[in-house]
């Protein structure tokens, strides 16, 4: 009897399994190919200099030690895990033992070290810093970058599969740097200094990379030497089309499966394809940065008057209703963010601030100069609306300048953005509050020593300490309402537009796509 029961049970299991596999086989499309249109041009394809759309293929070609999942958690990629020392100055990474490059060569800790040391060489970095912007605190990296040393002492090979990273200064949440696409690993023993190497580099991930300069196409195909979990997609085809309307038309015509929208057509797509939008999470945001070294914005009353005299909500509602307006520096997704915090539109308060300023009234205030990066027309429209509101509510004269780069300090306000490479309030607030923060260093806003000290105090607290968030929120509020270092504008309005048959697509703070987990359903 027991034998019969077992045989029947086995039959059920087998039937069940075969049924499931039959359904799966029917659901999956015969051709597992995804076509995608991007906006940005590709100037470099190696990870350490990547700041644009390269991040969309780096995740599955040149693997960083970790990836970020949709919730922002670090998940293993090239490394299986890491340990952090109590003083947070040492990180020990364990790499998968069976990991090999696409040419079959083992991926060892030395290979990772060499790839990173090549990546930080000055001539391989872009002007904004690239990999060095996240690796600069590694012991000896600066010397390697400048060419005065070939060995970064802070990258210590323990054995073939273990690499210790030593920082010269504690950086809260530094481990997030290990999940950046800029830390992607490739085989540096190839002819990496030859630009043509990068058309078909030796990669570490499940997909081979091929860039054809003749057609402008980038194609990822399965890596026959891939050492990890099998992947389903056979091919991923990228094409760069700068015109957003052409991208959308190609998508609507069924010629491509995924497009990226950087907010250009968001309002249109929200209506035409509401169910096909996959929002790209972001802890960065766009803002207007004040210059407190130049008249009249060196007067905090003027800065506060400008802050409260514009109705940002009304402007965005009228011009770009689907863009995510923000009032904060700490965005949702960053610890200690306060979604309740709001900046008021209060013309009376703005007028009071103006009358309390050293200028007394609008007639005495010199023209306020605002520069914005002219590559994005969007901001010209927003700022023109603000210009009118400042004129109507305060009688102030505001001049707008669309520029190609922010080379000149001769401005009162500048349209800017920040996206912390390390998702922690210390990093996000440090931009504005730290005396050596980017805002102070490059945007002519001298940070208040008091806030700087408060930030230092908060940074010493453990991430679980409730006082930490209280301090960070206090800093944020004072930066916005008292110091008024900036006027927040919008969060990241980026989206993927994805056909429903592209199964399992997820994106992360890195704006990447989990190609290794995607399949195409029959359609």
């Amino acid at each position: 009897m027991r034998l019969i029961v077992r045989i029947l049970a086995s039959c059920f299991v087998l039937l069940g399994l075969s049924g499931i596999s039959l359904v799966s086989a029917q659901e999956l499309a015969e051709e597992q190919v995804v076509k995608l249109l991007l906006r940005g041009k590709k100037d470099v394809v190696h990870p350490s200099a990547e700041g644009g759309d390269g991040r969309h293929w780096l995740r599955v070609t040149m693997l960083a030690p970790f990836n970020l999942d949709a919730q922002g958690n670090m998940v293993p990629s090239l490394a299986s895990g890491f340990e952090k020392s109590a003083d947070e100055l040492e990180y020990t990474l364990s790499f998968y033992e069976d990991a090999v490059f696409s040419n079959g060569k083992p991926i060892t800790a030395s290979a990772v070290k060499e790839a990173w040391e090549w990546g930080v060489l000055s001539e391989n970095l872009p002007g904004w810093g690239g990999l060095m912007s996240i690796f600069r605190k590694i012991e000896g990296m600066q010397a390697v970058s400048e060419g005065s040393s070939t060995d970064a002492e802070g990258l210590v090979v323990i054995d073939d599969h273990t690499l210790k990273i030593v920082l010269n200064e504690r950086v809260i949440g530094w481990e997030n740097a290990l999940a950046s696409y800029m830390a992607g690993v490739f085989d540096v023993s190839g002819d990496v200094d030859d630009i043509d190497y990068w058309r078909n580099p030796v990669v570490s991930g499940p997909y081979l990379f091929n860039w054809d300069p003749d057609t402008g196409a980038i194609t990822l195909t399965q890596n026959p030497n891939w050492w990890g979990e099998p992947v389903t997609l056979e091919r991923i085809e990228f094409q760069v089309v700068e015109d957003p309307q052409t991208r959308l038309i190609a998508y609507e015509n069924g010629e491509v499966d995924v497009i990226k929208d950087l907010g250009d057509l968001l309002d249109q797509i929200k209506v035409s394809h509401p169910d096909e939008l996959v929002a790209i999470p972001g802890v960065g945001f766009f803002y207007l940065a004040f210059n407190n070294q130049l008249e009249p914005t060196n007067d905090p009353h003027i800065r506060r008057a400008l802050l409260h005299a514009i109705d940002r909500r009304a402007v965005f509602q009228a011009l770009f209703p689907n863009h995510p307006l923000t009032d904060s520096i700490l965005q949702t997704g960053t610890q200690c963010a306060n979604p309740e915090f709001q900046i008021s539109y209060d013309p009376d308060m703005a007028r009071t601030e103006l009358s309390q300023s050293g200028y007394g009234n609008a007639e005495n205030v010199p023209p306020i100069r605002i520069q914005y990066w002219a590559d994005i027309n969007f901001w010209g429209r927003i700022l023109t609306a603000y210009q009118q509101q400042w004129q109507d509510n305060l009688g102030l004269r505001v001049e707008l300048f669309g520029v190609d780069n922010y080379d000149t300090p001769n401005f009162n306000l500048q349209r800017d953005s920040t996206a912390p490479t390390i998702n922690d309030p210390s990093e996000a607030l440090g931009v504005f509050a730290a005396s050596d923060g980017a805002n102070a260093a490059y945007q002519s806003f001298a940070a208040s020593p008091e806030l700087d000290a408060l930030l230092d105090e908060a940074n010493t607290l453990a991430s679980t300490d409730t006082a930490r968030c209280e301090l960070y929120r206090q800093i944020e509020e004072r930066l916005l309402l008292d110091e008024t270092a900036l006027i927040p504008q919008i969060g990241i309005p980026y989206n993927w537009v994805v056909k429903p048959y592209v199964q399992g697509l997820e994106t992360s703070l890195n704006q990447d796509i989990n190609w290794d987990q995607i399949s195409i359903l029959e359609h």
Partner: protein, 313 residues
Amino acid sequence: MLQYFIKRIAQLVPTVLGVIFITFSLGYFGPGDPLKHQLGERLPSDPAQLERLRKHYGLDRPFHVQFSSYIGKLARGDMGISIVVQSKRPIRDMLGKALRTSVQLGGAAALIIFVLGIPLGILAAYRKNTWLDYVIVSLAALLPTVPPFVLAPLLLILFVLQLKLLPASFGWAGLFDSRAILPLIILVIGPMLIVVRQTRNSIIEALTQDYVRTARSKGVLEHKVLSRHVLKNAMIPVLTSMGFIISGLLTGSLFVESIFGIPGFGKLIYDGLRAYDYPLILGTTLVGTLIILASNLLVDLLYPFFDPRVQFG
């Protein structure tokens, strides 16, 4: 003819050198910096990195050193490397690849313009002041005024989304791929209608000339009057336009290539200008100048075949 040709080539040298000097000076002294442009709205993590890169690309040297170095390299066929658009890629390679695409696209467009534009112009001239003439003249006046960046989305919506006759065009898969049709249409429309209008006007003028009246009075068949007397004389101004149109198609399909993501010469110019990548701007300007000068020379060499009154020398 050979003497004339050599003389003309020799005359080109100072023109080319002048163009290089002016472009180089504008790049050096004008506003904009390729390395700073790379930053966009980002802040450098280490300001000294910009200086290191400036040194790496030789941008820290004085004008005369940079210029003489550029001319020296140019004489050896080295046009330098791209700083921003395709970091470190030799400009010569980039130009070669881009021109291959643009020559196909521009060449095909020029052929269509020639094959359709001239007969339509003749037709309009022979049907002067009829509805056909009015339609052709109206279109010839209206359509060239619509810029490609307006025409492109309109045609995309019409042909791709509404009529579903064509695929949306992006990238470049060769001239015989259906995705090349829309860019070709947009490239052809403006210049073709200019050729139509010019052919029509020239033919109408030629038809009033004494030699045509004489030929007709002698009983020469109308098609012979057209081919032997009218067309030959009327083609001279059209030929001049065709020179400009062909060089324009090769060098100036800037908007079309950018809108459709075609990696051609126009796109390269556009990318170079946007990024202040001035080795690339210099390279594209130089090659663009050579194309324009060559097409002008070609037109000049063709004149005597159409009008025996024009002599070499």
